[in-house]
């Protein structure tokens, strides 16, 4: 039941209201936007209308929010400008604002110091030692936040293609960290891609960095939704917007 072009065009209104719940339908519309100049200019105009609706709903935020946000800002690293080399077929980053599922690691967390600190911290956690993580916070707020969350849990599972993945998940922070050990090395044309698998919406969760010494640097995923499972697939280099192969690993994230 592929809709006609004309029907696709009619989705601009519900699209800017974020009222399309079906991934398939939204993806199809976004692909259409990439080809249809008048549609993308219509979407741009209608989005400005929604901003009017937002402005009309303004309320005084709680006074304490200001301090909390500024404190968070001071310990949060910013993303560098988007690289021109972003794969074209990644759907979310293409339209605007980019990256519905936000993946620090591809963009910022590759910073070696952060990775080293996180790996150290990870070692501490995996050894089962309770340890204050204040030092890591200074280095990397995002990863430290997950590690330090009172409800952080460690999950480890073997993949069907060898090796293991270890996940530290914090439902309260809605974030998780993935590391792997002993995954089969891939040719340059392939990559391991992580997913947040959910019946409602499966989101790409970033590409595993190339392993060093058989291990991959921590990958941070944000915006977990209830019912998410972490999946890992082998995809063409650059990654895809949807899994195209059978996952070699699926880890349910919540009890």
């Amino acid at each position: 039941m592929k809709p006609l072009r004309h029907d696709l065009h009619l989705l601009s209104g519900v699209y800017v209201l974020d009222a399309i719940d079906s991934d398939t339908e939204r993806d199809r519309f976004e692909r259409h936007l990439g080809r249809c100049q008048s549609c993308s200019s219509e979407v741009r105009g209608l989005r400005e209308v929604t901003t009017g609706l937002a402005m009309a709903a303004a309320l005084q935020p709680p006074a304490a929010m200001h301090g909390r946000v500024l404190a968070a800002v001071r310990r949060t690293r910013q993303l560098p400008p988007a690289a021109d080399t972003q794969p074209r077929h990644r759907l979310w980053p293409r339209w605007w604002p980019q990256e519905r599922s936000r993946w620090l690691p591809r963009l910022a967390l590759a910073a070696a110091t952060a990775g080293v600190v996180a790996a150290l911290v990870l070692g501490v956690i995996l050894a089962g030692t309770q340890h204050r993580l204040g030092f890591a916070q200074a280095q990397n707020g995002a990863i430290a936040r997950v590690l330090a969350a009172p409800d952080a849990r460690v999950l480890t599972k073997s993949t069907s293609a060898g090796g293991t993945a270890t996940v530290i998940v914090s439902p309260s922070e809605r974030e998780l960290i993935v590391t792997t050990a002993g995954l089969r090395p891939l040719p340059a044309s392939k990559v391991y891609e992580a997913w947040l698998i959910n019946p409602r919406r499966t989101r790409p969760a970033g590409l595993l960095p190339s392993p060093r010494g058989g291990k991959t640097q921590p990958l941070l995923a944000t915006e977990l939704m209830a019912g998410d499972e972490l999946g890992l697939t082998v995809e063409p280099a650059g990654g895809t917007a949807k899994p195209t192969t059978t996952p070699i690993l699926v880890i349910p994230l919540r009890a």
Partner: protein
């Protein structure tokens, strides 16, 4: 049934919304934020936090959860400011799009189901909570006026989807209409508002 009267969104006193400079300033501020300028971020906060929080409250309703989402959104603005592209839309729109998507993600995730079901019981914000000074290049009165120019059905569909956070199939179910009529109604309504507000496409 939830309170979806569009009038809810226009509780501020008319004229209480001073313009604090045009969109260009906000765009410029975001460029500074992208370079790690904290005072610039504070200025963006001052101008947009009220709208982001108010919008999120509309969708999420629960004050504690709304604050949480609003904080995430504002942190996201800080973190991803380098990705803001003024060629694609205004700074306010960029921020409000993030805010709305985050709010929607929150209410559509199953954990929020219970809280969402409580929404009807949640009292509406007291009028003194209404921001007295918000960034408003499209000011409330104009928005109210333009919403008033829609047909009842257009207005209802748009407010259910945008403020209510419902998907359009849910809106269709709530209003007992077909999917295609909801799509059309929402698009026509927004186009009419665009023309009324004088937004350029």
């Amino acid at each position: 049934m939830m309170a979806m009267d569009p009038r809810d969104s226009h509780r501020a006193r008319p004229g209480a919304v001073p313009e604090q400079g045009g969109e260009h300033d906000l765009d410029g501020l975001l460029a500074l934020v992208a370079r790690g300028d904290e005072p610039a971020f504070e200025a963006v906060y001052t101008r947009l936090a009220g709208a982001a929080y108010g919008l999120i409250r509309k969708v999420v309703r629960d004050p504690a959860q709304s604050e949480e989402v609003a904080q995430e959104v504002l942190l996201e603005v800080w973190r991803t400011a380098s990705r803001f592209d003024p060629a694609k839309g205004s700074a306010a729109t960029w921020v409000m799009t993030i805010a709305h998507r985050r709010a929607i993600d929150r209410v559509r995730s199953a954990t929020a189901t219970a809280a969402r079901d409580q929404r009807a019981a949640e009292p509406l914000p007291a009028s003194d909570e209404v921001a007295e000074a918000v960034e408003a290049s499209l000011d409330r009165e104009r928005v109210r006026h333009c919403l008033g120019g829609l047909t009842e059905l257009q207005r209802e569909s748009i407010t259910l989807a945008y403020y209510g956070g419902y998907s359009y199939p849910q809106v269709a179910a709530l209003l007992g209409a077909t999917l295609s009529s909801i799509k059309t109604r929402i698009r026509d309504g927004l186009i009419r508002m665009r023309d009324c507000l004088g937004v350029s496409g």
